[in-house]
């Protein structure tokens, strides 16, 4: 098991390095540099080329590509993320504010969608062909195909504006309020974000469960005279769970992408909102830091999923097929 984790880590770091390089090169290729975005259109006509060059010099923008990449990478590793070009705030400070908000939102959504998706999928599989199964399938299809911002807006209209049950958006800061006060704010965005994941998880859970229920060891389990719940859950769902966990893991990046949109809709002060703002402002250091962080999260998620899968499935855990 330990060797297995070490093996995974061994691939993890080179991968991170390669992707960070790609992110850096990608931004290099985009038109315009930071300086050209920092100057307001009115000033642009009055400023001289020398002044522009001086600014570039000051920001280190005229050094070679590799050098800049190296400087950026090493300071990043040391925890110095630099300063945002807009307003000159330390990026680490921005991160400290936005990351917890996004984590909170995605984790709550992940929790909802996994629990909901798995249980609905299992119910659907056990009641295969029934009315319940069919309506769940239709609902799942709708969940996958309707974009989440649409759900988000409809939910705001219905629950916040029409029924006034929940706030329209925003997030209360942890040190201001008790946990209880903060819950109403997260319910809508997390449920809407969870919805898309739920539909996927449900379909995976259903097909995986159907697959397993047709396997012979289910008949064996039944032939021992055990009650149906034990046959279905302990023998069926336990085996069906492995592929579902893996697939949910593969969809984690989707959750991050989804949260960018949902954060916009609900004015959730997370990293997604910040990312969109920084891209619009061509705030390079911030864009790169956030991109790299996304990469880090996706890679870590897949690492965690691999380890979880191994823990669940003894064939993987013991390195045999």
């Amino acid at each position: 098991m330990t060797t297995y984790i070490l093996q995974r880590l061994f691939i993890f770091f080179p991968m991170l390095l390669v992707i960070s390089f790609l992110v850096y090169s990608g931004l290099e290729l985009s038109p315009g540099d930071a300086v050209s975005h920092m100057i307001s259109p009115e000033l642009a006509s009055t400023i001289t080329a020398e002044q522009l060059d001086a600014m570039r010099e000051a920001y280190g923008l005229n050094q070679s590509f590799i050098t800049r990449y190296w400087i950026w990478l090493t300071s990043m590793v040391q925890g110095d993320m630099g300063y945002s070009m807009a307003g000159g705030v330390a990026i680490s400070e921005i991160m400290a504010k936005t990351v917890p908000a996004t984590l909170e939102l995605s984790m709550v959504a992940l929790f909802f969608s996994t629990i909901l998706g798995c249980s609905l999928g299992v119910i659907s599989a056990l009641k295969r062909g029934s009315g319940t199964d069919n309506s769940l399938t239709v609902a799942g299809m709708a969940g996958v195909s309707i974009p989440e911002f649409f759900f988000g807006l409809v939910a705001i209209l219905l629950f916040a504006i029409e029924l006034k049950w929940l706030p329209v958006g925003g997030r209360l800061l942890p040190h201001y309020e008790t946990l209880w006060d903060r819950i109403p704010n997260i319910v809508l965005p997390s449920l809407v974000l969870a919805l898309m994941m739920t539909a996927g998880a449900m379909r995976y859970a259903r097909s995986s469960m159907l697959d397993v229920l047709a396997r012979e060891f289910i008949t064996t389990a039944r032939s021992k005279g055990m009650p149906e719940w034990r046959v279905n859950i302990l023998h069926g769902f336990r085996v069906a769970l492995t592929p579902v966990v893996v697939l949910i893991g593969f969809r984690l990046p989707l959750l991050i992408g989804g949260s960018t949109i949902i954060e916009q809709v609900y004015q959730w002060p997370g990293i997604g909102s910040m990312f969109i703002r920084s891209v619009r402002a061509s705030d390079y250091p911030l864009v790169m830091t956030i991109s790299l962080m996304y990469v880090f999260v996706v890679l870590t998620a897949s690492l965690v999923i691999d380890v979880l899968t191994a823990l669940i499935d003894p064939r993987v855990r013991l390195g045999k097929e």
Binding site: T219, T220, S223, M226, D313, R315
Partner: protein, 345 residues
């Protein structure tokens, strides 16, 4: 017959039908047999003739698209007679019988064990549901069962997962699981088809030993006539949902009285009879199960077919043990035995 104490299971006129796409497959269509305590009944027949469905019906482990249409399955539990077909499919009474009074082992030990639980855990489930043993006693029992089945280092093996067992060992573990609660009846559906020949012999030896030691009645489903000759006390030959001939192993193997039995016997090589034996595959193939012949099911493939075969023949009793379902059995029997006699002289 039914009232006799030595009958563990008595099946009468059992019909199990499948319903798919609004069509009906009469997979088991009027089957009757008895299984005696401490005896082995072998059920033989070509693929698709309803052997597995018969077994699944006795355990009420039928898939959702099928149901017991008619008939009786009487199981003798001590002095009580239980009508299995009347019990609710996954109800409490049925579950009490499954795994404790009637146990089953399956064809492929590779797929019949759950890959994510240890072998010990899977055996212990049986004991947990049907005995009052505590955890420690259950564990000891699991180890002793594995060691009875001839698995080396049972204390260690009990905590291993099925994937670290070989095919033969998995089938032994399956048998350990089935035998955990000393069942009165053991149903084995082609238990060695997935194993190689040397291991086959060991598994059968083990089953035979268990039968003698525990007085277990065994229903053994097989394609292998060699196995039948070796192990069977009684034999039932099935064809398209019917038992066409039944009797003691001697009756059926030495004096086959149904054209199908004879064809079946001639279609397989018999171990020890040398290379020059005649092997005649049965001519034609089994009919479409959704579009069965009327009357005798074997008639279209039979050399003895006449108009009378359009009506399903009744069961005829040749002697106390030997039964056949054929209109022409008397002529057939005479001719066949004449030929044998003339061969000898």
């Amino acid at each position: 017959m039914e009232s006799k104490d030595n009958i563990a299971l008595s099946v009468r006129d059992l019909k199990t039908f499948f319903y798919t796409n609004n069509r009906c497959n009469k997979a088991v269509n009027g089957v009757s047999f008895d299984v005696e305590k401490g005896k082995t009944l072998c059920i033989v027949g070509e693929s698709g003739c309803g052997k597995s469905v018969t077994a699944a019906t006795i355990m009420q482990l039928l898939p959702t698209l099928s149901r017991i249409e008619e008939g009786e399955i009487k199981f003798r539990k001590n002095d009580e007679i239980i009508n299995i077909e009347k019990l609710e499919k996954n109800g409490k009474e049925m579950r009490e019988i499954r795994g404790s009074d009637i146990a089953m082992i399956f064809q492929d030990p590779m797929t019949a064990l759950n890959p994510v639980y240890t072998v010990g855990f899977q055996i212990s489930e049986n004991l947990k549901y049907h005995t009052n043993l505590n955890r420690k006693q259950i564990r000891e029992k699991c180890i002793s069962l594995l060691s009875d089945m001839g698995i080396p280092l049972p204390e260690k093996r009990v905590d291993e997962y099925p994937h670290s067992y070989s095919g033969g060992m998995r089938q032994r573990a399956m048998i350990a699981m089935a035998m955990a609660c000393n069942p009165k009846i053991l149903i084995a559906d082609e238990p060695t088809t997935a194993l190689d020949v040397t291991i086959q012999a060991q598994i059968f030896e083990l089953m035979d030993k268990l039968k003698k030691e525990n007085d277990t009645a065994i229903i053994l489903i097989t394609h292998d006539m060699g196995v039948v000759a070796e192990l069977a006390d009684n034999v039932a030959v099935m064809y398209m949902g019917n038992i066409v001939e039944a009797g003691t192993a001697d009756d059926v193997l030495r004096r086959p009285t149904h054209p199908y039995t004879k064809a079946l016997l001639e279609s397989v090589p018999v171990l020890g009879r040398g290379k020059n034996q005649d092997i005649n595959p049965i001519k034609g193939s089994t009919p479409d199960p959704y579009n069965r012949p009327i009357g005798c099911q074997f008639a279209p493939r039979c050399n003895w077919q006449t108009e009378s075969c359009d009506i399903m023949p009744e069961i005829s009793q040749i002697n106390e043990t030997h039964q056949v379902r054929c209109h022409k059995y008397e002529q057939f029997f005479e001719k066949y035995n004449e030929k044998r006699n003339s061969k000898i002289t």
